[in-house]
C-alpha cells in the first residue's frame, strides 16, 4: 500500500490544527508575538473558517462588562454551572480574558455586535446566568465572529493547508516531545507529515457519535482520539452536553439533530408530548424555562414513557404566541424550518435532545500547555474550564480566549526552541498503517456502522445512564469497533474520497465513545450533564473529583482526581458581601 517513503515531508515553525475560534485566534496572536520570520501554518479538515462549530454559535458570547456585572460574578456562575468541577484557574482566566478578547473582536477584528439604543453593547442572559452578559449579533453571532477572523487570517501570510486532515501526533524517538503531525491531503489522498516546533490542537471535540447531534459534520473527535493514542491524559470525558431541542426529521436527513434555538422556550414556547400535553412542569418548577440538562432529561423521560418507534420525540409549539409574532421574532429559525418543510410559527415541530458540546478534553494548564512538549490544546478539545456543564455563551468565549493565549504562548515559547525535532519513524509508520487499514479490506458500507454506534451511544451512554446500560454500551461499542476493522474502502481512487474519511471518522468516534463510557462508569454520582439513574445524587461538593482517562498499553484506564478549590470553596463566594444573588429580573 503506502510506505513512509510516500509521505510528503513538510516543515513549519508553528502549526495550528483547526480554524474555529481557537485556531484562528492562535494564528493571529502567534503572528503578533513570534519572532520575525516565524512560519505559521494552518491545517484544517475543511475550508478555512467554513467548518467547525464556532461558526454555528447562535446565542452569543459571555463577557462581564460592568453595569453591575463583574468578572467575579461571571466566574461564580461558571463554577456553579459546572457544579464545582471546573478547574478554577482556567475558569478565572476565561472570565477575565473574555473582557480583553471581546474588545479585540470589536476593535481590532471588526466584529459587529448588537447595540442598545444608547450605542453600548447589548447583552442578554442565557439560562444559568445571574446577569445580562451575553454579547451577540442577532442569533448569528458565530458567523460574524468567524467571518471577521477568517478575513484577517486570509489576508496575512499564513501557510494554508486546507482540506488537510490530521491523523496522528508523532512524538520524537524518546517520546519526550512532539515532532510533528501526520495528515492526509484530502484533495489528493496523499499523506503529508508536517514538522513544527509547536503545534496547537484546536480540532474542537464534537460529540457526533450520538444519534442526534448538533455540531458540524467535520467534527468527529479526531483531536481527542489522537491525543489518547499519544498517551495524553483526558479529563471529564463523561461530560456530554445535550441541547434539549434538536430537530427530529427522520434518520435519512442531515437536518435531524440540528438546534432549534434556546430562545424559543425563553419566549414562551411550549413542549408537548405525543398526547398533546405539556409535561415540563412535572419535572421542574420552571417548566420549559429550566436549564438545558433538566429539560433534556424531561424530554428523554417522556420519550421513554411513550416508547413508540413511529413517534419518537416530543413537540415544540409556538402558535399560542401568535404565528405572526413568532415569524417576526424568530425570522431565521422559522425560515430554516420552512426550508425543511416544517411550520414552526403555526404548527408543531418534533424535537429531541441532541448532543451539543463536549466538556471533556485534554488536560492542559492555564497557558494551554500539555504534558507533551511542543503540544498545546485550546477550545473544545481542552478540558477543565467548564467542569460538568458549559454555560450557554461560555463556549465561544473559551475557544477565543484560549486560542489567543495559545498563540501568545507558542509565539513566546518558540524563541527558546532550537531545531525542529525528528519524528519516531516507527510511530509514523504505525499511524500510516492505521489509516490505510480499510484500504486492505473488501469494500463495504460504512454508514450502517455509524448508525449502530449512534444508536448505542444514545441508548446506553446518553441523557440518563445506569451501570448496566453503560456496560451494555461498552460491549456494543467494542463489537462495532471490531466490525469496523473488517469494513474496507476501495483503494483505487483516494483523491477526495469521503468514504475513506467516513471510515476514519468512525475510528475516532469509536475510540472516544469507549472513553466516554468508561469515564461515565467511573463517576458514581450525578453532576451537570452526567446523570446516573442509579446514583441520582450529586455527592458532597467539597469531595468533588474529576475523572482522568489515559491509554495504558491496550486499554483505557480511568482514575479520579480531587478538584482543587484554588479560588473559592463550595458554599462560599468571591462576590462582595451584600451583592444580590442575581441581577436578572425574573421572567
Amino acid at each position: 500500500m503506502f510506505s513512509t517513503c510516500d509521505i510528503d515531508r513538510h516543515d513549519t515553525d508553528i502549526l495550528i490544527l483547526g480554524t474555529g475560534g481557537a485556531g484562528m485566534f492562535a494564528a493571529l496572536h502567534a503572528m503578533q508575538t513570534a519572532p520575525e520570520g516565524t512560519k505559521v501554518t494552518i491545517a484544517v479538515k475543511g475550508l478555512i473558517g467554513k467548518c467547525g462549530c464556532t461558526r454555528m454559535v447562535q446565542g452569543g458570547y459571555n463577557v462581564a462588562l460592568g453595569n453591575g456585572d463583574s468578572v467575579e460574578r461571571h466566574f461564580m456562575d461558571t463554577i456553579e454551572g459546572g457544579k464545582w468541577l471546573p478547574d478554577q484557574d482556567m475558569a478565572w482566566r476565561l472570565c477575565e480574558q473574555a473582557v480583553v478578547r471581546i474588545r479585540e473582536l470589536e476593535n481590532e477584528i471588526g466584529c459587529f455586535f448588537d447595540r442598545n439604543a444608547d450605542g453600548s453593547l447589548h447583552q442578554k442572559a442565557f439560562a444559568g446566568q445571574t446577569a445580562d452578559r451575553t454579547v451577540h449579533k442577532g442569533d448569528l453571532t458565530g458567523i460574524e465572529i468567524i467571518n471577521r477572523l477568517m478575513e484577517q487570517v486570509l489576508s496575512r501570510p499564513v501557510e494554508k493547508l486546507q482540506e488537510h486532515r490530521a491523523i496522528g501526533l508523532i512524538p520524537t524517538k524518546d517520546g519526550s516531545a512532539l515532532a510533528g503531525v501526520l495528515m492526509i491531503d484530502m484533495r489528493t489522498g496523499k499523506f503529508r507529515f508536517v514538522r513544527a516546533k509547536t503545534v496547537l490542537m484546536a480540532t474542537g471535540g464534537g460529540p457526533t457519535m450520538y444519534k442526534y447531534h448538533t455540531p458540524s459534520g467535520d467534527k468527529t473527535m479526531d483531536g481527542l482520539a489522537m491525543a489518547l493514542r499519544a498517551g495524553l491524559p483526558l479529563r471529564d470525558m463523561e461530560m456530554v452536553q445535550f441541547h434539549p431541542t434538536g430537530l427530529l426529521a427522520g434518520d435519512h436527513t442531515r437536518m435531524t439533530g440540528t438546534v432549534l434555538e434556546e430562545g424559543l422556550r425563553g419566549a414562551g414556547g411550549q413542549l408537548v408530548n405525543h398526547a398533546g400535553q405539556r409535561f415540563m412542569f412535572d419535572y421542574d418548577a420552571k417548566g420549559e424555562r429550566a436549564t438545558r440538562d433538566v429539560v433534556s432529561r424531561g424530554i428523554y423521560a417522556e420519550m421513554r414513557k411513550n416508547n413508540n418507534p413511529d413517534q419518537e420525540g416530543v413537540f415544540i409549539s409556538m402558535a399560542h404566541l401568535g404565528p405572526e409574532n413568532v415569524v417576526k421574532k424568530f425570522k431565521g429559525m422559522v425560515k430554516r424550518c420552512a426550508d425543511c418543510g416544517f411550520d414552526l410559527a403555526g404548527g408543531l415541530v418534533e424535537v429531541v435532545p441532541t448532543a451539543h458540546y463536549f466538556m471533556g478534553g485534554v488536560v492542559v494548564d492555564v497557558d494551554t500547555r500539555t504534558a507533551m512538549e511542543g503540544l498545546y490544546v485550546a477550545g473544545e478539545d481542552a478540558g477543565g474550564a467548564h467542569g460538568s456543564n458549559r454555560l450557554g455563551g461560555n463556549g465561544v468565549a473559551n475557544s477565543t480566549v484560549y486560542g489567543g493565549i495559545a498563540g501568545d504562548v507558542m509565539g513566546a515559547d518558540i524563541r527558546g526552541m532550537g531545531a525542529l525535532r525528528d519524528p519516531d519513524e516507527t510511530v509514523l509508520e504505525a499511524e500510516l498503517t492505521r489509516a490505510c487499514h480499510p484500504l486492505t479490506r473488501d469494500p463495504a458500507l460504512v454508514l450502517p456502522l455509524r448508525k449502530q454506534l449512534q444508536e448505542a451511544m444514545w441508548d446506553d451512554v446518553g441523557v440518563m445512564r445506569t451501570e448496566a446500560g453503560l456496560n451494555h454500551g461498552l460491549k456494543r461499542i467494542a463489537e462495532i469497533s471490531e466490525e469496523l476493522m473488517e469494513v474496507g474502502v476501495a483503494a483505487d481512487s483516494l483523491a477526495f474520497n469521503l468514504t475513506w474519511h467516513d471510515w476514519l471518522n468512525m475510528r475516532s468516534l469509536c475510540d472516544i465513545s469507549e472513553v466516554i463510557t468508561k469515564a461515565a462508569l467511573a463517576r458514581n454520582n450525578s453532576r451537570g450533564a452526567h446523570y446516573r439513574e442509579d446514583f441520582p445524587e450529586p455527592g458532597a461538593m467539597i469531595d468533588s473529583y474529576f475523572t482522568v482517562a489515559q491509554q495504558k498499553g491496550d486499554t483505557v484506564e480511568v482514575t479520579r482526581e480531587d478538584v482543587k478549590f484554588t479560588i473559592v470553596k463550595p458554599g462560599e463566594t468571591i462576590l462582595p458581601d451584600g451583592e444580590p444573588d442575581t441581577l436578572v429580573a425574573a421572567q
Binding site: 478555512i48 479585540e104 470589536e106 481590532e108 477584528i109 471588526g110 459587529f112 435519512h252 436527513t253 476501495a490
Partner: protein
C-alpha cells in the same frame, strides 16, 4: 418518518470528474422521503450507491456556506433546499458551482472567491486596540444600517456563481467581495476608506458590474449585493469629482 410515497424514487443526474479526469454525468435512482434536502440526496448517493462521490458540507443548517451547488442550473445552498422545491418531474440535475474551478465532482475550489474577498480589502482596518473601550455605535445611524444590510453574508459563493460578469471577466471581484467592501466602507470603525475605494476601482472592480442582479435574485440570505455595488459606484464617483464620501 415515512417514505413520501412508498417506494418512490427520484432520478438524479450528477456531474462527475476532476481537473485531470474528463467531466461526465451519472444518473442514480434515489429513494424519496418526506423531509429531504438536496444535500441528503447527494449524501445518500455517496453513502449507499457510489462511495467515490465527492461533495462538501459542514454545518447542514445554512450557516457555513460550503454546500452550494448548481441544482437544475440554479446555484443553491443544498442543505437548505428541500427536494420538493427543485424536483422537475422526478428528476434533479446536480453539478458543482459555476464560475469556480472544480476540485472533484461536486466540490469546487473556493480559493479564487476568497482571494478576491481579500483583494477587495474585505477586512477591517482598526481604529482602536484591545486596550481601549468599545466605541458606542448608534444602531439607528444611517451608515450603520447600510453596513448591517450586508453583514450576514455566509460567503457561500452563490451570487458569484450566478453572475455572468464573473463568467466573462475572470478579474471581476464579484458581488460578495464587493458587498463586503461596501459594508466596511460604511463601518464607522474602519480606518481606511480610501484603501477600500482604491481596491474596488481597479481592473476587476465594482465598475465592471452591469447591475444584472442575479446576485440579489439568488442570494439565499436575501442580501442585496446589487445595491451594495451601486453604493460603491456612487462613492467612487463622488470621490472622482473630488468630494469625500
Amino acid at each position: 418518518m415515512h417514505v413520501a410515497e412508498h417506494g418512490s424514487v427520484m432520478n438524479v443526474t450528477v456531474q462527475r470528474g476532476s481537473a485531470d479526469t474528463p467531466t461526465r454525468t451519472e444518473t442514480f435512482d434515489v429513494p424519496a422521503y418526506d423531509n429531504q434536502t438536496v444535500l441528503d440526496v447527494v449524501s445518500w448517493i455517496q453513502q449507499n450507491a457510489d462511495p467515490t462521490l465527492t461533495y462538501r458540507f459542514a454545518c447542514r443548517v445554512g450557516m457555513c456556506g460550503s454546500c452550494a451547488m448548481m441544482v437544475n442550473g440554479v446555484p443553491r445552498w443544498t442543505c437548505r433546499t428541500h427536494v420538493s422545491k427543485v424536483l422537475d418531474g422526478n428528476k434533479i440535475n446536480i453539478a458543482p458551482l459555476r464560475n469556480l474551478p472544480v476540485i472533484k465532482d461536486l466540490a469546487a475550489d473556493m480559493d479564487p472567491f476568497f482571494d478576491k474577498w481579500v483583494a477587495a480589502e474585505g477586512k477591517h482596518h482598526p481604529t482602536r486596540t484591545r486596550e481601549e473601550e468599545i466605541a458606542p455605535v448608534d444602531p439607528q445611524a444611517e451608515e450603520r444600517q447600510a453596513a448591517s444590510a450586508g453583514i450576514e453574508c455566509i460567503n457561500c459563493s452563490i451570487c458569484y456563481s450566478a453572475c455572468d460578469t464573473v463568467t466573462g471577466n475572470p478579474d471581476y471581484l464579484g458581488p460578495a467581495a464587493l458587498q463586503r467592501a461596501w459594508t466596511l466602507y460604511n463601518d464607522a470603525k474602519d480606518a481606511d476608506r480610501d484603501a477600500i475605494l482604491d481596491a474596488v476601482s481597479g481592473k476587476g472592480g465594482c465598475h465592471n458590474c452591469h447591475s444584472m442582479g442575479s446576485c440579489t435574485a439568488y442570494c439565499p440570505n436575501e442580501l442585496d449585493p446589487l445595491s451594495a455595488i451601486a453604493g460603491l459606484k456612487r462613492a467612487t464617483t463622488r470621490r472622482f469629482f473630488g468630494r469625500r464620501g
